[in-house]
């Protein structure tokens, strides 16, 4: 679906490279988890995939076409972004906020119609917040706001969903709900790329894992090969042990 070919990125000339010669394939219909310590370049990787940042060198292909050759509107329909957190400056209703996900489907001067409302409500239903549709976003908790951001991306009906640490603000109930949702989306053919600090989350749902450190890819491959004691100890420079309990990987540290 998406291919990085020798991609490097530098934020400013005076700074070292944030990403160094990254080459990887994002498999269509898979869930790819990107793991790494703080400052490893995970979010930079997502922003490059979104075309928000342009590589300093190398190229990124989406459906075998250069990323830059897609129009903005086309990109809005192809992929959605769920940021880690988002400052909401004004008091929108939850439904009005999610409705913004319909932007790429409407002509520049068009107003959202009944179908856009229906799609947005379905998205809210998928994240379990339908009952809050007419409430103010200011009344929601941090975790609920995170789910609203996910619902807005779902309203985009994207083929590729980029999530930046989507589970960071969620309680166990919402975390497991999100993991089920991501699995359902995968079954519907949506390709998912998510950054995370939780190897257990990656282990539970990811089909492939990218391990990053210092702007480089240390390992990229199937989840079971990636999440080993040796890899994670090296990745986080800490004594880590991966054990399997009832078929699930648990990380001890």
């Amino acid at each position: 679906m998406m291919r990085f070919e020798g991609v490097s990125y530098r934020y400013q000339r005076s700074l070292p490279l944030a990403l160094q010669e990254i080459s990887l394939d994002i498999m269509k219909g898979g869930i790819t988890a990107v793991l790494g310590p703080n400052g490893a370049g995970k979010s930079t990787l997502l922003f490059l995939a979104l075309a928000w940042l342009q590589p300093s060198c190398g190229s990124i292909l989406l459906d075998r076409r250069s990323l830059g050759s897609h129009s903005r509107r086309e990109m809005g329909r192809l992929m959605g972004l769920v940021p880690q957190r988002e400052h909401i400056p004004f008091e929108y209703s939850v439904l009005e906020y999610v409705l913004l996900g319909r932007l790429p489907y409407l002509a520049p001067l068009e107003q959202p119609g009944e179908n856009d409302y229906a799609v947005s409500l379905t998205a809210l239903e998928q994240v379990g917040l339908r009952r809050f549709a007419n409430r103010s976003v200011f009344t929601l908790s941090g975790g609920e706001r995170q789910l609203v951001l996910i619902a807005r991306s779902l309203a985009q009906q994207p083929r590729l969903l980029l999530l930046d640490e989507p589970t960071s603000h969620l309680d166990l109930h919402n975390k497991s709900r999100l993991m089920v949702l991501l699995k359902q989306l995968q079954a519907q053919g949506v390709t998912i790329v998510m950054t995370t600090h939780e190897p257990e989350v990656a282990s539970a749902i990811a089909s492939a894992v990218v391990l990053m450190n210092g702007g480089r890819v240390l390992f990229c491959g199937p989840t079971e090969d990636a999440l080993t004691t040796q890899h994670l100890s090296l990745l986080y420079s800490a004594p880590i042990e991966v054990v399997t309990v009832k078929g699930r990987r648990i990380v001890l540290w």
Binding site: R77, F90, Y92, P104, Q111, L121, N134
Partner: protein, 352 residues
């Protein structure tokens, strides 16, 4: 069980429909209110003492007809255009900068206009068309300078860079204005600069009203057409980008559409404060944050508020009170009331 929890999807679409319908109805009521206020403004005034002209008198008295057609009609129209432009521009600025304390004079526009007007009064005479031209020119120069400076600042996000550039350009113009006031003739030029800065529509005529009409209609028309697409521009730039928005282009287009009518109305009316700050707040309070409704509401409320203030400016005293004083006084009172009430409708948060 919570009533909300059992709402079906159809019921929720219906609930949204009800809210949308209610907002449309309030907009229609505002439009009717503005029209009524407009007619009332034509009839009330000092002729020669404070009175409301009535039907028979208008038809029989040629002087009152001329008073209405040549003085009050262009003035009332200018007041509406002024209020609409400032309020709509305020809404656009506050949304784009994700900051409810921003007003249309931001980005060097107001200070630029004031500097231009003072420069003209001091060195080129105080002919009205010249002062207006200089004010409009320097308002646009202020915007252009802020934009170019923002492009060349090497750190921070786009919004932060624009804010910093706007502050720097405004400060430069303000310093220039101070020098001009210092060198101005204290008996002849200084009072004129001061009066211009207080703002008012006392000298308005048909040609001046007609001169600002195209800029206001085009700018406001564009802002209205883009009213839904204005919403995502208050989000962090990368999020708006991910929603398929060409962020920089749309921000720039809307800023220009907001500044052009603002420069035009400042050029004829001088500095009229608070309209662009307070009206968007009230519009959001009544209509919610969605600019599909709050922008047209700000437009109508701005027209209504400024027309009302201009009527007070005309009739409160036997002499004219500068409009800027009335809008500041009423604006500040409304602002205080809004601040002490619960649910101001905005939230403090981290800067982008």
């Amino acid at each position: 069980m919570n009533r909300e929890a059992v709402l079906t999807r159809d019921a929720q679409i219906a609930a949204q429909d009800v809210w949308d319908t209610r907002r449309r109805r309030i907009l229609i009521v505002l439009l009717i209110g503005l029209a009524a206020m407009f007619v009332f403004s034509l009839l009330i005034g000092r002729y020669p003492t404070l009175r409301v002209l009535v039907g028979g008198q208008i038809f029989s008295d040629e002087l009152s007809q001329r008073l209405i057609l040549n003085l009050r009609l262009p003035r009332a129209l200018a007041a509406v255009l002024l209020g609409m432009s400032l309020a709509a521009a305020g809404m656009v600025f506050q949304t784009i900068f994700a900051n409810p304390l921003v007003e249309p004079g931001f980005l060097g526009v107001s200070q630029g206009a004031a500097f231009g007007a003072a420069l003209c009064i001091v060195y080129f005479g105080s002919a009205a068309w010249l002062v207006q031209g200089a004010a409009a020119l320097f308002a646009v120069v202020g915007l252009a300078a802020s934009y170019l400076l923002a492009r060349n600042i090497r750190y921070g996000g786009w919004v932060l860079r624009l804010v910093m550039a706007g502050i720097a350009v405004s400060a430069l113009f303000f310093a220039g204005l101070g020098i001009l006031k210092y060198v101005a003739d204290p008996l002849r030029q200084l009072p004129e600069i001061t009066f211009w800065m207080l703002g008012g529509l006392a000298g308005i005529t048909w040609p001046r009203t007609l001169a600002i009409l195209p800029a206001v209609v085009l700018g406001s028309g564009f802002m209205l057409a883009m009213r839904w697409r204005l919403n995502p521009l208050c989000l962090p730039a990368e999020t708006a980008f991910s929603l398929g928005v060409a962020v920089r282009r749309e921000r720039l287009l809307l800023l220009v559409a907001a500044v052009v009518p603002t420069a035009a109305v400042i050029s004829v009316a001088g500095m009229v404060g608070w309209v662009g700050l307070i009206v968007p707040h009230i519009a959001r309070r009544v209509f919610g944050a969605d600019t599909r409704y709050s922008l047209p509401a700000a437009l109508l409320m701005g027209g209504l508020f400024t027309l009302f203030c201009d009527d007070l400016a005309r009739i409160l005293l036997s002499g004219e009170i500068p409009l800027g004083i009335i809008t500041s006084l009423l604006g500040a009172i409304v602002f205080l009331i809004l601040m002490v009430q619960k649910g101001i409708g905005v939230q403090r948060g981290e800067t982008k």
